[in-house]
């Protein structure tokens, strides 16, 4: 099929108004939340229904054209960066809440619905726990693709613990239903395998979520310490005491400085660390635990402790925490954000190592992190206009990731691998591990057309099983070889 005919078919599938081919208009979609990657796709479509998604994907399948699904485009791993030969399938028009079934604690939504809209739809009695910092804009479809977390996942878990059913358009254009409102459906947990697959196995068009009763009581404080080590030690003591906090977040000196400049919460900018702790649950349990947490903070050397007296003060604490990323622009023109994880007990050690690496490279590293689950977000600050600094920053970022993996950690806790971290995959996974991943990929997408070039460190092809050898188009073009 020639280009004109292909675009014509796409137009028929989604309607004239929802096919974007003009170069300027397409540029709107060239990046996701990670702006250093930008690719203009062949075409952009904005389907309105699962049927339209199926038609688009089937067209791509028939013409061996790659495609990438995109939600709100707020991802931080380059997972929704378009393919230059491919079609970008934007799901922002599919934003209907299809069913609120509070009796069964389920909500059924389309993928473009925002994370926050789910909690709003089931409030005030219930809520949807996974809460990425971008929850005002990020879409549930994107959350499913990335298995998104958030500040409260230490207690409540991740997206994967709250999705019970999915309709998925597979890369051949067929539609499959995985799970439902019920749990323990017989068969492989393909639902669990799909969540966090970063758009490489298909695209979810209908999502069933579990929601839970809103906690009776929420108590929040922020404690300030002279050093990150002291704050980290307090986190360990809280965990050792058996207290299950809703959230435990640490900001370092640079992050406090940046966030304070943006939000003016009145935080002491000479503090070495700020530790945000939130407890929620049954009022008695919450109060008793909260008193214990305050005592542990004081024993642990807190220079001051601010307890949120009302909802406004609580919101200010969270606003300050969530502003830390965006506010980095105040300290540095450019930054790399990392998302590594270490076992909680190795936090101090790794933070110390990051400090050393930062000094060796002559670049500042700010740190904001989910301390409860050891998920670091080191921000390597640099100035791209200074020659060589971007390269130095990239090298430093890589060494930080390696330091975390060496401690038994992970290259990514919630942002996903995408384009940005695929080069680190071999640090965490061996060749047989990657080959096992590819088996799953081939079961869903033997043609390798769904979001190619993401997640896996190198292009791989699927053999036929069983059957006769056939040369893959990528192989013919010399772009990949059979492993």
């Amino acid at each position: 099929m020639n280009e004109g005919a292909f675009l014509g078919e796409l137009e028929q599938a989604v309607g004239t108004d929802h096919l974007v081919t003009h170069p300027h208009a397409k540029r709107t979609y060239e990046s996701d939340g990670l702006l250093q990657y930008a690719v203009t796709p062949r075409a952009v479509v904005l389907p309105d229904s699962a049927e339209q998604v199926q038609r688009v994907v089937r067209l791509c399948h028939e013409n061996e054209i790659p495609w990438v699904a995109r939600g709100a485009g707020s991802g931080l791993s380059g997972g929704a960066v378009p393919h230059e030969e491919g079609v970008l399938v934007v799901l922002s028009r599919m934003r209907r809440i299809l069913e609120v079934d509070l009796d069964n604690q389920r909500v059924v939504v389309e993928p473009g619905v925002t994370n926050l809209a789910v909690s709003q739809a089931v409030g005030p009695t219930h809520f949807y726990p996974p809460d990425p910092s971008s929850q005002i804009v990020c879409s549930i479809g994107g959350n499913v693709a990335e298995n998104s977390g958030g500040a409260h996942c230490f207690k409540y878990g991740f997206t994967t613990n709250y999705v019970t059913g999915l309709d998925v358009v597979l890369p051949d254009g067929s539609l499959v239903t995985l799970g439902g409102k019920e749990l323990d459906m017989p068969g492989y947990d393909l639902l669990g395998a799909f969540i966090g697959s970063e758009g490489t196995l298909g695209v979810a068009t209908r999502i069933t979520l579990r929601v839970v009763p809103k906690p009776e009581s929420v108590r929040t404080l922020v404690a300030f310490f002279d050093s990150l080590e002291e704050a980290g030690e307090v986190v360990s003591e809280i965990v050792a005491a058996g207290i299950v906090a809703g959230a435990m977040e640490i900001m370092d000196k640079l992050s406090i400085e940046a966030a304070e400049g943006a939000v003016h919460a009145g935080y002491p900018t000479d503090a070495g660390a700020a530790l945000v702790i939130e407890l929620d649950g049954f009022e008695h349990e919450c109060e008793t635990g909260f008193r214990e947490v305050q005592e542990i903070c004081e024993r642990g050397g807190a220079t001051s402790v601010r307890v949120a007296g009302d909802e406004a003060e609580r919101e200010l604490i969270w606003k300050t925490r969530k502003a830390a990323f965006a506010a980095m622009g105040r300290l540095s023109p450019n930054y790399y954000v990392q998302d590594s994880v270490v076992p909680r007990t190795r936090l101090s050690h790794v933070l110390h190592r990051i400090g050393e690496l930062s000094e060796e490279h002559g670049l500042r590293v700010a740190n904001v992190f989910h301390a409860g689950d050891g998920n670091l977000h080191p921000l390597v600050l640099f100035d791209a206009s200074v020659e060589g600094e971007a390269e130095r920053a990239e090298e430093l970022a890589g060494l930080i990731v390696k330091a975390c993996v060496d401690e038994g950690g992970s290259i990514t806790g919630e942002h996903g691998v995408g384009i940005d971290k695929k080069r680190y995959m071999p640090a965490q996974f061996s060749e047989p591990d990657l080959a096992a991943f590819q088996k799953l990929r081939c079961a869903f997408d033997p043609g390798g057309l769904a979001n190619p070039g993401k997640l896996m460190p190198t292009p791989r092809l699927c053999g036929e099983i069983p059957g006769v050898y056939r040369q893959h188009p990528l192989e013919a073009a010399g772009l990949a070889e059979r492993m």
């Binding site: 977390g149 459906m185 068969g187 395998a193 049954f282």
Partner: protein, 367 residues
């Protein structure tokens, strides 16, 4: 046995192989065990790591779950996975069979507690997925794929799991003879702001009840509040002094001569209770999750199972324990042939085990 040697045995085998742990669930699924060559995981019995400060552990697949729990309990910790244990159930077997118990209410199933998995694959390789940290999205989540796969994709040889602190507990119970009242009471607790660790429902011999457990320093006041809620819902309720036996009974009732696991939703609970009564059986269930284990009298046979399936349609009713003749008379998995999901499962099986060496015929659709 080394992991690699196990993988090579799978690769080199020309006849069907079944990897077994404690053999406590060996009859489950679609085929008889004696048609397989068995490989036991009993040599894989080491607890490799117990990272107390991180609340994680790394176990070999053949470690008996009870032995692991004893180790964790010394640090006042637990793996929040408490399926019924007929004696010697291994962590690998529990995960591969996707079995669970009352703690699932708060902590999720095996799939939610496993952080990482190491598997011996029929292509002769040993592969890992996930990790040993509690938050990790790198790579595909093969741990979930292998949890509940009944060994049909390869053998689980090692697992990294998340642990939880053990806290003081207190329980409340309520009972009554009207299925609707019992189901309504369970619904009230499932939607209350009380943070239960476990919330179960049960029925046998014309009466049923709700059992709820709380954990934490203030467990007792929560149990009191739950008792009030149960009374308000119309049940005779009390706070239990010693609750261990009651919970053990809930777990035990998941096993029997003829047991069907029903994947229902909360609003179907009353129907499940009524059907249990009509078929003169017993049931236990996770009230907020909708998963029920209905135990039928052996005389009910395949006809009883078919009736349950008809009345509770479209909920999946999977036969777990059953006499051979019942298993032979119906599809224990209750999966309609030709569904797109089943086709995708077959493709998954074909990629991991193209020669069909690993427990063929045991799983859904004859996989």
């Amino acid at each position: 046995v080394s992991y690699q040697a196990l993988a090579e045995r799978l690769r080199d085998s020309t006849s069907p192989v079944r990897v077994v742990g404690g053999r406590t669930k060996i009859s489950w699924g679609g085929a008889r065990a004696d048609s397989f060559e068995e490989i036991s995981t009993s040599g894989l019995d080491q607890i490799l790591e117990h990272n107390e400060g991180d609340l994680t552990a790394v176990l070999q697949a053949g470690v008996p779950l009870a032995k692991a729990q004893e180790t964790f309990a010394q640090a006042n910790q637990m793996l929040a996975l408490d399926p019924p244990d007929l004696g010697g159930a291994t962590i690998g077997g529990v995960v591969a069979a996707g079995d669970s118990g009352p703690l699932r209410h708060r902590y999720g199933a095996a799939r939610d507690l496993v952080l990482g998995v190491t598997v011996a694959l029929p292509d002769g390789t040993v592969a890992r997925a996930g990790g040993k940290v509690i938050k990790n999205v790198a790579g595909y989540d093969l741990a979930k794929l292998f949890a509940g796969s009944f060994g049909t994709l390869g053998a689980i040889v090692e697992l990294a799991v998340r642990l939880h602190p053990m806290r003081p507990t207190a329980s409340a119970e309520g009972h009554g003879a009207d299925p609707d009242t019992v189901a309504h009471a369970a619904h009230a607790l499932a939607h209350s702001q009380l943070e239960a660790q476990a919330l179960d429902i049960a029925w046998r011999g014309g009466r049923g009840g709700v059992l709820v457990r709380f954990a934490g320093v203030e467990a007792e006041p929560q149990a009191q509040a739950a008792r009030q809620a149960l009374e308000q819902a119309g049940l005779a309720a009390s706070v239990m002094e010693d609750d261990d036996a009651a919970w053990e009974a809930q777990r035990a009732a998941q096993r029997g001569d003829l047991v069907v696991r029903v994947s229902a939703v909360q609003t179907q609970l009353a129907d499940v209770l009524r059907m249990t009564e009509e078929l003169e059986g017993g049931m236990v269930g996770r009230a907020a999750l909708g998963i029920c284990w209905v135990s039928l009298p052996v005389e009910a046979g395949a006809a009883g199972v078919e009736r349950l399936r008809r009345e509770l349609a479209p909920s999946a009713c999977v036969v777990l324990d059953a006499p051979d003749e019942v298993r032979a008379a119906l599809d224990p998995w209750h999966v309609p042939d030709g569904s797109p999901a089943l086709e995708l499962m077959r493709r998954t099986k074909a990629r991991f085990d193209p020669n069909g060496v690993c427990s063929p015929g045991v799983f859904v659709g004859g996989i």
